[in-house]
């Protein structure tokens, strides 16, 4: 039980950390100042959430484990994040869509985890849910603005959808440790699809059907992108082990 709880906590920690890292790449590069600030604020929220999860995972693991050792010293195959969040930023449309598809899922998931029997998971997600509500609102407004915007923005959203949709199925395919922690992840699929369809209708986008869904992230089988992300994220601790500042 404890092992699966650690794995599940790490899955939540890794997913929020990697999306935070990807979003932070927009710092100083956002399309306009306010949106640059918005995406990096979301990045900061996600980083805070991931720290809470890592601290808890470290406490459960015991020994020398710390939030830093878990984030900086685990290898690619040990990371359990969703494939969706490690996908490239692409253009603004792709970043927005990735954020929306994830935030909408995260909102439903954390809403459920608020009442989890594990008190710390419940506490972390209750806190994070308030932040996630802002992420959902902000990103869904952007999905509509771009989808129902100009021909150019609509085309870019279609391209982003084509890139990212195949990574959404994994969110609802339970890993072994998810089953063992008693979280019925599959039950979130229909509510999620319903929410996404509402937004897509407004955004004049069509919900893709019959797309082959990729999976593996939860088990440590990642797309080629994660290695590059970790190479950057872990560089200092790998090059100067134990460096402090």
């Amino acid at each position: 039980m404890n092992d699966s709880l650690i794995s599940y906590t790490l899955h939540l920690a890794d997913t929020t950390l990697i999306l935070s890292q990807k979003n932070s790449e927009w710092c100083g590069h956002g399309p306009i100042l306010e949106q640059d600030i918005a995406i990096t604020n979301i990045s900061l929220d996600l980083l805070g959430q991931s720290r809470n999860f890592y601290q808890y995972a470290a406490a459960l693991t015991g020994g020398d484990a710390t939030e830093d050792s878990l984030a900086y010293l685990r290898k690619e195959r040990e990371f359990k994040n969703l494939l969706l969040v490690e996908q490239p930023n692409g253009d603004w449309a792709q970043t927005i869509l990735r954020q929306y598809l994830f935030s909408q899922f995260q909102y439903l998931l954390f809403d459920k985890l608020q009442t989890n029997k594990d008190e710390q998971i419940a506490a972390i997600t209750t806190k994070a849910l308030k932040e996630t509500a802002y992420h959902v609102r902000w990103s869904s407004e952007w999905v509509i603005r771009l989808g129902d915007g100009t021909e150019e923005s609509h085309t870019r959203m279609l391209k982003a959808l084509d890139e990212l949709w195949r990574y959404t199925g994994e969110m609802f395919m339970p890993a072994g440790y998810e089953k063992e922690t008693g979280i019925d992840i599959n039950s979130l699929k229909d509510p999620w699809l319903k929410k996404v369809k509402n937004i897509f209708d407004e955004a004049t986008l069509i919900l893709p059907e019959k797309v082959f869904m990729q999976e593996g992230g939860k088990k440590g089988n990642h797309t080629e992108h994660l290695g590059y992300i970790l190479a950057e994220l872990q560089y200092v601790q790998r090059t100067y082990p134990g460096a402090k500042w």
Binding site: A123, K127, R137, S140
Partner: protein, 194 residues
């Protein structure tokens, strides 16, 4: 630093009920209640490094102060999961207590119950406005998830006009959104409800 029981003024030993902790400092005998009062008044001097007009007690992030035989434990809760000011706030709390003669101090962060802007004091809200930041609205409308919801009426902290509009949901720090006044044209921060 803390002793129980302590000698009384007439030389006899005074016994205090279990759980009532007594401290002797500067020959001053403080009851548990006075001790708490003193600790809270010290905490009232610790400010938020990002919004320096607010103290940690105005923000409502101090949840409890525990006094045990040899240790003061201050329980704090973060405003936002990723609030970068929390480490500094914890350090400042320790400093303030050290300066006041306390030696063994522990600052513990807890997440539950989750912080809400409802815990911000009225005095805190008044100070925020004076500082030029619109205080959080008591009615938690902005927290709702509905998209393109009609912008909540936020009062301009400069000219008090209600004709304002939201520029961005996210502002200079995680806890603020960016607004502009349509009358005096000044942009301002709004401490968003949470």
């Amino acid at each position: 630093m803390f002793r129980e029981p302590i000698p009384g003024q007439n030389g006899e030993t005074l016994h205090f009920p279990k759980g009532r902790l007594i401290k002797i400092m500067d020959k001053e005998i403080l009851s548990f209640k006075q001790e708490q009062k003193k600790l809270w008044s010290i905490l009232e001097t610790v400010t938020d490094p990002e919004v320096p007009v607010l103290t940690v007690t105005d923000l409502g992030i101090i949840r409890e102060v525990k006094i045990s035989d040899d240790e003061i434990e201050v329980i704090i809760t973060p405003t936002y999961s990723g609030c970068p000011a929390m480490d500094m706030i914890a350090a400042n709390i320790k400093m303030a207590l050290l300066e006041n003669g306390y030696q063994k101090i522990k600052v513990t962060s807890v997440l539950s119950p989750a912080w809400t802007t409802d815990w911000m004091s009225l005095e805190g809200k008044r100070k925020l406005k004076e500082y030029g930041i619109a205080p959080p609205d008591p009615k938690q409308q902005v927290c709702k998830q509905e998209l393109f919801a009609a912008d909540e009426a936020i009062q301009c902290p400069h000219c008090n006009s209600w004709h304002t509009h939201r520029i961005s949901e996210f502002g200079s720090t995680a806890c603020k959104a960016l607004y502009q006044c349509d009358d005096c044209k000044e942009p301002f921060d709004y401490f968003k409800c949470h």
